[in-house]
C-alpha cells in the first residue's frame, strides 16, 4: 500500500470512509517515525564522532526556508499580476485608467528589477548616472528599507530583513488588492495556460536563457583570471575573433588540439550510442515475452542505472588499477589458464597453438598509462551505465506493439528477421528517434564519467570537448575562451539535431 498522495484514483470518487483511506498514510508515518527514532537511538551513543550537529541543521533549515518563502511570495505576486491581466477587466473608464496605470507601474518595476539584475551580474553596465539610480531603485528597495528601519530604531539588525520583507509584501499586497477591487471577472480561454507556464519560464529565463546570453557576451571578451573574471574584462569583436582563432589553432586545454579532441568526441559518441541502442534492443527483445523470472531479470538489469553515477564511476576507476582491479585480475587469471591448457595440450593439433596464441595476446593491460586502453576503460564504464536506460525505453515501445502484426506476418511467411526490420523498427520509431537524439546529445556532453574515471589523462588523451572545456574554465581560468568554446559545441549539436530531425521526420508527433 502506498500513502494516499501517490495512490491512484481520486478521493471524491472512492467510496471508502475517511479513516480507512488514511490508514496507509498513518502506517507509513508510524514506520518513518520508528525508523528515525531507531536511527537516533543507534547514532546517539557515537554522536561525539559526528560533525553534523543540531545547530547546523537548524541554520540550514532557516536559510533554505527563508529563501523558499521569499521566492514563493515573489512568485505568488507575479502570478496574481498575470491572473489579473487575463482574468479581470476594469469596470468603467476611470477605474480602467487607474488599474492600467497601477499594472503598468508594477510591470515597469519588474522590468527595472530585471535590468538592474543584469547590471548587478555584469551582463550590461548601467554606470552611475541618474537613470541608473532610478533603474536600480526597486532592486535596492529591500536594503534601503532595512537601513531606514534600523535608523528609525524600529528593528534590530537581525530582524530588519524580516520586517522589511513583510513591509514589502504588505505594499505589493495592497497594490494588487486595489486592482482586484476595481475590476470585474472576465472570461478568458487561454489565461490559465499562461498562468501555468509562467513560473517555469521565469526559472528557465533566469537560469538557462540569461546565462546563455551571458555566455555569448563572454565569448567576445578577454575575461580570464587576470581580468578578475568580468570585472576588468574588455569586450569587442576582435576578442571573439582571437578566441575563435585560439580555439581552432591553439591548445584547447593544456596541450590537446581542437580537431583531435573533436574526432575523439565523435568516436566516443558513436561508439557509446551504438552500444547503448543495440545492447538495449537485444536485452529488450529477449525480455519482451512471457517467461519465468522476467521481473527478476529486469530488476537486475536496471542496476547500472540505479546506482548513482558518481559511485559507479569512482568504483570503476579503482577497478582499473593495474594490480588490484578486477579487470586485470580476470585477465591475468585467463592468461594463466590459457597457458596452462596450452602446456597440457602441447602442440596437439591446432588447439595447443591457439591457446598459446591466446595466452600471449590476452593479458593484463595498463589501463591508466596507455592512451588507447584508457579510452577503452571510459567507454566500458559509460556503455555499462547507459544500456539499461535504452533497454527500458525500447521495452516500453515494444510492449505497445500489438501481437497481431507479428501473427499476420508469420501467416504471410515472413522470417523473424524480416518482421523485425519491417514491423518492429518502423513501429519503434516514435520512441527511438527522440531517445537516440537525446542519447547522442547527452553522450556528447557527458563528461562526469570521463572526469571521474581518468580525469582526461594520460596527457589529455581521453578528453572529449566538454571535459576540455571544463578544464579550460576551472583549471586554466580562460573564461572568454571557454565561452567561445561552449558556443561552438552548442552549434555543432544544434546543427546535428536539425539534420537528424529533417532526415528522420522530426518531432511532429510530439508537438502536435
Amino acid at each position: 500500500m502506498l500513502p494516499f498522495f501517490i495512490q491512484k484514483g481520486t478521493g471524491a470518487m472512492e467510496e471508502k470512509n475517511g479513516l480507512r483511506r488514511f490508514l496507509p498514510t498513518f502506517l507509513w508515518l508510524a514506520a518513518g517515525t520508528a525508523v528515525i527514532w531507531g536511527l537516533i537511538r543507534l547514532i546517539a551513543p557515537y554522536s561525539a564522532g559526528i560533525t553534523l550537529t543540531q545547530k547546523i541543521i537548524v541554520a540550514r533549515i532557516t536559510e533554505v526556508g527563508g529563501f523558499l518563502i521569499a521566492l514563493l511570495v515573489g512568485l505568488a505576486a507575479i502570478e496574481v499580476y498575470v491572473y489579473q491581466i487575463f482574468f479581470r477587466g476594469p469596470r468603467d473608464l476611470t477605474t480602467g485608467i487607474i488599474v492600467r496605470a497601477l499594472q503598468g507601474l508594477f510591470g515597469l518595476t519588474l522590468l527595472m528589477s530585471v535590468v538592474a539584475f543584469f547590471d548587478l551580474t555584469d551582463l550590461i553596465r548601467l554606470g552611475d548616472g541618474p537613470l541608473a539610480a532610478v533603474i536600480r531603485f526597486p532592486i535596492n528597495l529591500p536594503a534601503t528599507l532595512q537601513r531606514a528601519l534600523i535608523n528609525a530604531s524600529f528593528a534590530s539588525k537581525s530582524s530588519a530583513g524580516l520586517w522589511s520583507g513583510l513591509l514589502l509584501v504588505v505594499i505589493v499586497g495592497i497594490l494588487l488588492a486595489v486592482v482586484q477591487a476595481l475590476t470585474r471577472p472576465r472570461s478568458t480561454k487561454l489565461g490559465l495556460a499562461y498562468l501555468l507556464v509562467t513560473p517555469a519560464f521565469i526559472g528557465i529565463f533566469f537560469l538557462i536563457l540569461y546565462p546563455f546570453a551571458f555566455e555569448v557576451k563572454l565569448a567576445f571578451s578577454n575575461a580570464s583570471l587576470g581580468t578578475q573574471a568580468t570585472k576588468n574584462a574588455s569586450y569587442g569583436l576582435i576578442y571573439g575573433w582571437q578566441n575563435l582563432v585560439t580555439l581552432f589553432t591553439g591548445n584547447v586545454a593544456k596541450e590537446a588540439k581542437f580537431f583531435e579532441v573533436l574526432g575523439r568526441t565523435v568516436l566516443w559518441t558513436v561508439i557509446n550510442v551504438t552500444f547503448h541502442v543495440t545492447g538495449g534492443m537485444i536485452l529488450a527483445l529477449m525480455l519482451n515475452r512471457p517467461m519465468k523470472l522476467r521481473g527478476l531479470y529486469r530488476t537486475l538489469l536496471v542496476f547500472p542505472w540505479a546506482i548513482p553515477t558518481t559511485i559507479a564511476a569512482m568504483a570503476f576507476r579503482n577497478e582499473f588499477d593495474s594490480r588490484y582491479g578486477f579487470f586485470n585480475i580476470i585477465l591475468r587469471n585467463l592468461q594463466s589458464w590459457f597457458a596452462d591448457v596450452a602446456s597440457h595440450t602441447g602442440s596437439w593439433l591446432v588447439i595447443g597453438d591457439a591457446f598459446n596464441w591466446l595466452a600471449q595476446n590476452i593479458g593484463p593491460v595498463s589501463w591508466k598509462q596507455d592512451p588507447f586502453w584508457a579510452f577503452v576503460s571510459v567507454l566500458i564504464v559509460n556503455i555499462w551505465l547507459g544500456i539499461p536506460f535504452m533497454m527500458v525505453i525500447i521495452l516500453g515501445g515494444l510492449q505497445s506493439i500489438s501481437h497481431e502484426y507479428y501473427e499476420a506476418a508469420e501467416i504471410d511467411g515472413a522470417s523473424p528477421w524480416q518482421s523485425f526490420w519491417n514491423i518492429t523498427i518502423p513501429l519503434l520509431r516514435p520512441v527511438l528517434t527522440p531517445a537516440i537524439i537525446l542519447g547522442v546529445v547527452w553522450t556528447f556532453n557527458k563528461f562526469d564519467v570521463i572526469y571521474l574515471v581518468t580525469q582526461g589523462g594520460p596527457q589529455e588523451k581521453t578528453d572529449i570537448l566538454v571535459s576540455s572545456m571544463y578544464k579550460a574554465a576551472f583549471q586554466f581560468y580562460r573564461y572568454g575562451f571557454t565561452a567561445m568554446f561552449a558556443l561552438v559545441i552548442f552549434l555543432i549539436l544544434f546543427i546535428f539535431t536539425l539534420v537528424f530531425l529533417r532526415v528522420s521526420g522530426g518531432l511532429k508527433s510530439a508537438t502536435e
Binding site: K8, I204, F212, L218, M291
Partner: protein, 302 residues
Amino acid sequence: MNSVLTVLKRFYRWFFFRARGDSPFKRLLIHLGLIAACIIAVYPVLRVVTISLRPNDTLLTTSLRIIPENATLDNYKEVLFGAPEKNRKSDFFLWLWNSLSIVMVTSIASVTLAATSAYAFSRFRFPGRNAGLIFLFTTQMIPAGMLLLPLFIMLAKLQMINTSLGLIIAYSVSSVPLTIWTLKGYYDTIPVDLEEAALIDGASRLRTFTQIILPLSSPALAIAFLFSFMGGWSEYLVARVVLQKNEMYTWPLGIFTYAQQFTVAWGKFAAASVLIAIPVMALFLYSSKWLISGLTLGSVKG
C-alpha cells in the same frame, strides 16, 4: 532401437522447432543470455560491497571472492562514526545532510514547475506553444559545462558561492525542460473526456487539474521526481565548482576525497558508497515497474 530413435527425433523436433511459441532451445539461449547480462550488470556493484567488507590489512588482494575472508564491518563503523582512538571525526552525516537538504528542495521545485506547465502544453493550444516546446528541446543541447561558467560568475557576483542556496539555484531548473516533455507526453495519454465531464458538472479547470489529472499521472510524477532527485543526488561537477569549503560538501565531493588515495581509503570509500547507494537503489528498483509506463507511454500513444 527404432523406438529410441523416434523418441530422440521427436525430442529434437520439439527442442528446436516447436510449432507454437518459442522452442525450448530458444528459451534456453535467452535465459543464458539474460543471466550473462545480469552478471555483467551486477558484478561491479557486488565488488563494491566486497571491498567494503574487507579488513583493512587485506584491502590489496587479488582475490575475486564475493564475501572476503575475515569479513568485518570496521569500514562502516569508521565511515559513520569516525575513529575516536585516532581522533578522527566523521563527516558522513554532514555530507548526507548537505546533499539531502539541497536535492529535496530542487526536485520538489522542479517537479512542481514542470507539472503545471506540462499541463498547459498538453491541454491548451495557445500562441507560442510550439515555439516553447521546441525551445525546451533545444535547451537539452546546451552543454552542461556551458551554463556552468556564467552561472558560476553570476553566483560569485551575488555572493552565493559556497552556500547551499547557490547549488539549489544551479540545480533547480536544469531538469525542468525534459520533465516538462515527459509529463506532457503522459498527460496526452489521459483522455480529455474525463476532464470535459467534470467541467460540465461545474468543476473549474484548476480543480480538474488537481483532482483528475494529478492523481491519474502519479506514476509519471513519481518518476519525474525520482529522476530529478537522482540527477541532483549524484551530481559532482557543478557541486565541485560551487562548493569549495569542506563543511559544505555534498556526498559526491566528500566521497571523492576517499577515492583519491588508492591504498588509504578504498575500503572507506566502498563502505560509504554502499551506505549511500542502498536507499537510493532500493527506491529506484522499487519504482522500476513504473519506469516503463511513466517514461515512454507518452511518446508511443496510439
